[in-house]
Amino acid sequence: MARLEDITRDEIQTLVNAARNSGQNEGEYVRAQLTARYPGIENQSIRRGPNVFSVLDYLVEDTDSYATGS
């Protein structure tokens, strides 16, 4: 199983593009795809600065920083 820290912005960008092209909600699509690809990811957490976040929440939180268009 791939490590969560190896998930790259390229991979997320591909998912974001796919969501946009199919007219689906970006956040929901990315969340569903990552859950399918990385079993157990929904239970993973990550510490950033002073706080602990859900990995999925953290990844979806950043989707607005990805390039628009496909």
Binding site: L4, E5, D6, I7, T8, R9, D10, E11, I12, Q13, I46, R47, R48, G49, P50, V55, Y58, L59, D62, D64, S65, Y66, A67
Partner: protein, 505 residues
Amino acid sequence: MPQAAKELRIPPPFAGINLATGVDKLQPHEALNLRGFEFDEYGTLGVPRAPKSLGTVVVGQKVLSAHIFQRSVGATQLIIHLDDGSLRFSTDFLTSSTVATWTTIATGLSTTKPFHYITWLSKVWMANGVNDFRSWDGAASATFASAPKGAFLALWRDTMWMSGDTTNPDRIYQCAAGDPTVWPALNFVDIEKGASKGITGITSVESSLVTFKLLTTHIIYDPVEYTNRRIDSGKGCLSHFSIVGHMGAIYFVSHLGVCRFLGDGPSEIVSDKIQPMFDDLYVFGTALGAQALDTDRETHIWGFSFENFVGWYIPSNSWSQYIKYFPSLPEKPWLFGTPTEVPSANKSVAVSVREPGEYQQLYRVGGSPAILVREYGGDITDALACEWSSAWFDWDMPTEEKYVDMVQILHRGPLDVRIKRNYDDDEFREVATGLDHGEPELQESTIYTDEYARSIQLYISSTANPGERKSLVGSGVSGLASITRFQSAIAAVTVTAQLLGKMRR
């Protein structure tokens, strides 16, 4: 009855500009205005050699940013970003040719958002917040569309850090370890999200990544979990490009003035003596040699370091100026100046480079259209107009009339000397023109002034005999730089006067 003669000594080292106190409260060795002159290693004032023009870069275009790409293999390149949206480089800028030649790296890029650069892994990495993150290896470019759209770059702990993403203005991204082509999706953190205008610049020191906002400063001290804390609640950074390292210290420009980063606590303001420049309520007259900070263009302030000073180009809509700080001199003096191509200069940027076996060089690109100049690299006949205005002296008796007997100047080279009277800038007399004892060493000249006044100010200027930089090795560039020796210089001044008492009118 006249009293005994009183001497006013202005000994070396000179102390530079002080605008932060009353004109009659300056120390004798402080200046009310100081333009063009520079300090040598002993605090002596002198006329530096003028810049040498290496030609117009591209007709009609202005510069946005510049970078020295020094490589372990291959010639050093000077890379510039112009406001026609092009990136270009030159390699012959290092030779003494009169016009540098430029090769296009890329076109169609932003015409307003300057690239920032980091040299790492034998490539230059570039970001400006608008165009795709890109690299240049000296011959070929690559772009990385899925990298964050940040504008500011820094290296720390074997990774690249990026911020300035307008979509997420408080966010800092980190690349994969040792690989800026890969940006892990989880590698980011927000610093005090939504609490201010966002990040304005980043840099690194040994122990932390320094993150500036407009009014605050923060450090990330853990490169894995991004643990961070605020270290300065009163000062941030106006321009990422104002951040500059000099002699092991980090300097930057805040809304309160130039600051020196102190590591784990609030930064130190080092520009107390030119503080009015940063005060909204203060309006400089051009006679004082500087304008107040143009807040519309404050994000374009550009810092640079060279030999014994660190400086900043401060652009404005009508003209630009530089400020220079000499932190290694005992008095830590400041001075002003204007780039040679003003008033048409909208922006100047400067980069220094030191090639193996050569002396350090400072290059500036500025003006409209942008020209490239090698600072201090001019022909020996070229000189800058330099002027020094002392404090106003009244011997602590402002209403007493004085007979100013003589002015003695320890100097070299021709100087023009003017005495101004009674706090009136327009009331003066030229007491010496082309004052020159003709000797290469510092010697004293005496001017019998025969002047009556309640207060006086000395104004010394020089437009001739630029500085000489002695070459110790080689030819080419090395012949144009090295140890400072001003051919026209001021080392000390003594004014002798007699108090006459109050005048009855």
